[in-house]
Symmetry: C2
Subunit: 153 residues, 2 copies
């Protein structure tokens, strides 16, 4: 007869101490949202951050990379990577800004605007799907709570 394992694997793994944390719950929910968004954007050749960058460039013609980095709360070096990808795909152009040789203005191309408008529809459908089963009141509460959490320091 085999001797019993002195360190048997637990049959049921408890993650209760992590589940007690709203931050952990949010991370797990966001993982699901991000995976669904990735699938949603894939047919458009976009990812979460290139979609976000394109949205802001469409909405704010002439946007500077530093403004884009600030608005998305990401590092300027990362923004340059997303902009490169959008430019290579023919969706965004850079124009040198007058008076500052290092700066440039971002604009979407016609193809970029059309792609964004098509992608925006399915992204909104994805976002609505993520809220399935929640009432309007609950949705309003979660939006308020998220906005407030973002202001915590």
């Amino acid at each position: 007869m085999a001797r019993p394992d002195p360190h048997p694997a637990p049959e049921n793994v408890s993650d209760a101490p992590l589940r007690a944390l709203v931050g952990y719950q949010m991370k797990r929910a966001f993982n699901v949202i991000q995976a669904d968004l990735t699938r949603t954007l894939d047919p458009f050749g976009l990812r979460m951050l290139t979609y976000s960058a394109l949205a802001l460039i469409v909405e704010n013609p002439g946007l500077r990379p530093s403004q884009l980095a600030h608005a998305l709360a990401v590092e300027r070096a990362n923004v340059v990577v997303y902009v490169d990808q959008l430019e290579e795909a023919g969706w965004v152009t850079r124009t040198p800004a007058l008076g500052d040789r290092r700066a440039y203005a971002l604009q979407c191309t016609l193809a970029g605007r059309r792609l964004y408008e098509r992608a925006q529809k399915v992204v909104h459908a994805h976002d609505t799907r993520m809220l399935n089963g929640l009432s309007e009141d609950e949705t309003a509460t979660i939006r308020k709570a998220l906005a407030q959490m973002e202001q915590q320091t």
Copy 2:
């Protein structure tokens, strides 16, 4: 007189199309939570994922790395990195599992348990701080909403 820039930078950058998405709001809120958690854990030599791994090892003695990866919904290769760090710090030990030469059982050391218990207190205070200004009802709603979002497919 300088000629006007044909592509002036927008004075106010609008991110309204992204703010309309609950997924984007959640990402922004989670960034704030993660930054606060990072500051909270730094004095303990822990980060978000090493804290999470330590919590599950303390809670589930004998845990296998594959179980840890599944419980945290991260890649097994990443789990090995966190476990290495916890082991090097002297907070976790690996014991070969009987009957499977590739598997091993994870246990916390006394130092690991004590560190976890001290860290857990400040992590819970951090989590409560993130909910500042929200009523009990609102907190219950956001927890319910996050749990439900995690089940969406």
